[in-house]
Subunit: 443 residues, 4 copies
């Protein structure tokens, strides 16, 4: 993660202070549970909570430094934190972390951080979905050319394009919700997950307070298939970002110019090279998508830890957990802003639809001729003749449109009424299902 | 996919005949829907259905050859099939495929094949889950050593280990169900998804008959985020296979020998080198997991098709759809068989638990001393003394067990009753939560 | 690998018969070496060679079936082959494979197959390079627009574009040569690579005859970093294929139409929808590139085998070795054909260069004004004025070109001679270094 | 990249100050070249060099802040730097960057940074190779068991194991040298690589002074196949790190204990749980290897930029260039230290060799019996009998070693001399080629 591609709210989740706050919360809740079970004094749990809350409220860089100092000595991050906590809490600190293992704290903390992060991502998603929906409705009746293979196929509603991306991101939102459930689990189960030194009820108590579920069976750690599934969801979302970004990049090409990323008035180079408005946001999003996708494979490789755990996953997660969520948060926000402000050129869209002289309507004309009782072979021959006549002289002085060529064809004139032909050549007919589609997508 | 790693039922799903049957079914259902809407004659739809069903029932290699022959000429697989179908159906064939696009057939067919494949995978999963459950209950009370970092940590139930893998595969089963929903969609929407030449109701009719949902908004194709999510699920499952395979490979090491893959009586080399029973199944599964995981990235790269579609995803899917499902089917079946027949050596497990002289109990002894009122520092010093005495003479004639060293320590003798010490040193205490864990996992 | 994307010469390398021929060659050479060392009778080696050669020359499907039959019983492929060979060679077969391990045969055979495959790929490369060079020279003076971000930047030679791809594939050819060296190694070193039962000199003898180098130190296997490096080279080449394919896809877009894949006269749909010439070859190549790249990660994961080897890499290699080389062979051949026959439209290229009214020359005009002594700020203001005047009225009746707007600007008229302005606005000036570039690239 | 896994020398390469120094150097060298060609005044070039050198020598955080401030306004990093430089250089700054494009500076700078980084990595490699060589020679005669499939196979020299890893890293070093050549290229060729505004000779001058080669043909950027190949090399090296780390993790398992990572005296938990020395360094290296490998795919995806460049690769490279080199530098250093200090237990190695009663020698005994004229079938039966007798009673009071069982076998006693049997059962015979191997590896 580089600062250039991060936003403060998400970055804060991965800060030391947030981590220590969560660690303390886990320890304090475990003490409460132990006290309720009579395994440690009620009074001790209260003091730990009170003094700990105070310490966390007053937490400053000096505390981070102090913990780092202890860690440099003990080479153990959780012990360093507990030692610092003992300095703040006093003798009752001996009841802290009883029967627990470092991983109980670390893995549950990661679960909390990932759920916090996912909640921000879900907010990002909602903003993006709102932007897409707004633009989709705005351009529900805007005719544009649909393209397969980069080649003009048939006209369609530009709003439908956006509705398609909306539908994809709505699916992505659901995937993210499922991913959140995957990782919203708590494990306080000891060295190899047997609860030998601490009862499952403590885990259940802590889990409930933290809004997590207790892991049904853990080893020393929460199984990493959960985290792998989480990163897979991020990878799928990133690919959806790339798809929309690729669409915008195409629309902004010099030859297409159907839409443009909003361009800051003062942005350098805008006026001496007025054509040089580069789709840098969508290109950037394309790159960020590659990054986010790249976290999937190491997350999958993290699953097969040896026996009850090894620590190989740790260095991977120290990178991909912050980087994955921070980068996706940034990308979603950038994409939302880009789509909200996307400059759309409906006139250019129409111009492009018409640029091939109307041959994009050949498919519908074929059907019309067939319905008029002309055999498939003859219909094909007629349409082919008109289309080739249009195509080969496109842009030349003698050029005639597909309509003109059809109307000049006696076989057509005899068999097809003008109104029927008009309808077949009307781009609007390609929008006739757009209401139904919008109802399906937006309800 | 290589024949060595495939099973007939899954391979059949990807055979030409299955594909052509599904294609015909889609076309026939679309004709029925069009007939109901009065867009083609009822009689025509019936003839298409009847003659087509006959042709499909009699379908042979000769038909495949005939279709291939037509395709060699037309360079278009769907047209080749429709031409062949016309030869079988007669003049009513002119009503087949009306208003449809090749992708309508191809993508919907792929959805059917993937759901058929997933149904087999779900069956595989159930067999695997049953095997794991059976072996977990069988070894619920079998004591083994839990290991972190490959180092002995604390004893645990071998059944709990298996329960952990069961729980992971139960999650994987749910992921597979979700993945099935992802790809169980039908699209019959035309060249760019506008329904310009065919009504959405036809799509809905076909979808319902095929047990699919109609895609809310398609382009020319069903959006590829669905397929990407599908392959992600396969990748997560593959990683779970690798985790269990890795466990078995470790257990079968010459120095560990706690379990072994079942070894065929006649398997070569078994008796002149009786120790050389290699965990070849689990090693093979490790490799297959790598393969299955490798399909995730290209599936993710397939999402960002250009505009309403390009065809770049096609060659990828021609490979990874059969290979992914065939390989996973084979791997799950191999894993089930391996786990069902896994030879477990409980005596060797106990021997390994005891092999370090009992120092694996130091954690619990520390807690016992603390509960006996000894300060944390003193408790640590006492345990350290006994553990080091045990460890440094391990395997030597003067060697004494951790228990012996503790009992010989006056500080312990004074403060800790024998029964308490017994309990702390009893591997069985690490199984005390196993009932609760099994209830969580198996209900 | 699917038949659709494979060519016979490469497929043959991965056929059973080729594998068995190589196996026999390795065994026969090892016998010769052992005979020279006096470890087996000279006569035996001769008989093995003679009878084996005969058997291999007469090798038929019946032999494959016989070997399969034996393997079904022994569950061991090399033993099955040796048993078959013994049936052909007679009693002297007892001297075959003496002191050797299956991996000696298997890994050395794989090395031979991969070098054979690479030799074909190098031929493919040469054909591709020849095609690119030919087209580059053909279009050395063809002016086209250079684009950054998909936006017109400055004119350039279309031949230079192709020269850039040539240079990339020339680098790729060198990478492939290096990759060939990586895997062209022989190992005949026994169960854990100690030569305990066979002398290193045997390995050296066999290696030399097979055109391989002896592995300096093997375990039971040739270390897999070599194969990983090989597949990395394939992945880089695949990405180069994708880059060129992406260029063609862009050039063929309906709005750009600067080039088109050659379109078969009889190709379906070509004339009723004359515009619908889809860049299906380059799209297909894009997908194939994804496939080839996907083999990189499992190849990298294969490196960390346990101790002196485990067998996890085997199932991976059974797939990616044939699939990787067959797919790349097919892709390179398809790309060569596509580039050889690419239809180029220089007029459309010029039309596109001019389509923005000449503002693509603003960069050079800025430099011209600066050289004429105008301050950077003033120059910028002047160019900006002319460019904006051009841009905002582009395509309207009042539209004037950038040249017209500049010539109408008194500040320009006073300071810049017409000839200088002509030169600045001449697309040809962007070709002035093309000779130097071609010399660098083609020598 | 997280600070925890980075070292200062490498991090400094990716600092703003290093980047700005290189930018200045490129600009200053380009000015010199232009002055030599008479395109800008000699005096101007000198002033730029002198004042710029002063400014860079005095470069402080305040300068970084100033440049950031300008960039916030202009949204362009190179322009921000040039503006800052102009503030330092004065009016002659108007000759800076003449005819150049931002990418000329950025891409050439990246080349310099990557070569600097690679030089550090090559140093790391040399230290690692020295450590491996030293330990290999130290343990050239140390007998250990070779393992295939995690199962004891035959004895071997522990030094040979290390020599194998040495050989792999020697190959990796060469790959890194090749990778360095790949990216050590300079491009100063303008907006689309045509040298329209700056002569190729300027590029050649700058390249030579920077120790780079001029790119034969660039677009706006240096083609990204070079960077992809660079990251592939890093991925292969990372996999080699994982292989060695995996070996150590296995050797340190509680049941194997043949080697251990050096354990700090004060490292927490070392004495109350003396067995709990976890191979955390090698596990960490395993995770870091996953990270480094994960950069390969996005680097490959960066190759296919659109036309003469898009900017999608930029965000990827801002991450993977620093992260890849910093993480690999850290990993190589960690691995070197780990191997230098690895604690090896030769006695335990011997104990493990003997732990299976000698059946690991069955392969050699088979050969001995064959050489003694016993038929293959009989030899197999005899060895099988002795091996099974040994194996089935292993560890029981009646247990006898393989040697004892063989010596008690009359068929053996009659046919095989004791000395021959001794030799066959002597682990040392597996070291007889170790000199040759070392000569091959170390020269």
């Amino acid at each position: 993660m580089v600062p250039r591609y991060s936003r403060p709210r998400m970055t804060a989740i991965w800060s030391p202070v947030n981590r220590y706050r969560i660690w303390f919360e886990i320890e304090a809740l475990a003490c409460e549970a132990l006290a309720r079970r009579g395994e440690i004094p009620e009074e001790a749990a209260k003091i730990i909570r009170t003094k700990g809350d105070e310490a966390m409220a007053a937490f400053s860089d000096a505390d981070v430094a102090r913990i780092d100092e202890i860690e440099a000595e003990t080479r153990h991050d959780v012990i360093a934190f507990l030692t610092w906590l003992a300095e703040k809490v006093g003798p009752e600190s001996r009841f802290v972390h009883m029967g627990m293992t470092s991983s109980d704290v670390l893995d549950t903390c990661l679960a909390v951080q990932l759920t916090q992060a996912t909640d921000l991502l879900l907010e990002d998603m909602d903003i993006l979905l709102a932007a897409l929906k707004k633009r989709a409705y705005e351009h529900k009746q805007t005719v544009t050319i649909g393209r397969s293979h980069g080649i003009h196929a048939e006209p369609m509603s530009f709003g439908q394009k956006l509705a398609g991306h909306y539908a994809e991101f709505a699916r992505n939102r659901r995937r993210l919700e499922v991913a959140r459930e995957e990782i919203a689990v708590c494990a306080i189960s000891g060295a190899v997950g047997t609860y030998a030194h601490i009862a499952p009820e403590v885990e259940e108590y802590v889990a409930e307070r933290l809004g997590l579920k207790a892991e049904s069976v853990s080893t020393q750690v929460i199984p990493r298939d959960r985290h792998a599934a989480f990163f897979c969801a991020l990878g799928v979302i990133a690919s959806g970002i790339e798809r929309l970004a690729t669409e915008v990049r195409h629309l902004q090409r010099s030859e297409v110019r159907e839409a443009e990323e909003f361009f800051h008035a003062g942005q350098k180079g805008s006026s001496a090279m007025p054509h040089k408005r580069n789709p840098v946001l969508s290109e950037n999003l394309t790159g960020l998508a590659r990054l986010i996708r790249s976290y999937v494979t190491p997350a999958l490789e993290n699953v097969a830890l040896w026996h009850e755990r090894d620590i190989s996953h740790s260095s991977v997660e120290r990178n991909i957990c912050p980087d994955g969520t921070i980068t996706l948060d940034f990308a979603l926000a950038r994409l939302s802003g880009m789509m909200e402000k996307l400059v759309v050129y409906p006139d250019q869209m129409i111009a492009n639809v018409e640029s091939l002289g109307g041959v994009v309507h050949s498919g519908e004309v074929l059907l019309v001729l067939a319905r008029a009782g002309i055999s498939r072979e003859d219909a094909y021959r007629i349409v082919q003749r008109a289309a080739m006549a249009t195509w080969t002289k496109l842009g030349t002085p003698e050029g005639r449109t597909f309509r003109e060529n059809l109307e000049a064809d006696p076989e057509v004139a005899q068999r097809v009424e003008k109104a029927v032909l008009d309808d077949a050549l009307d781009p609007a007919r390609h929008l006739r299902a757009v209401d139904q589609i919008f109802t399906r997508v937006f309800g």
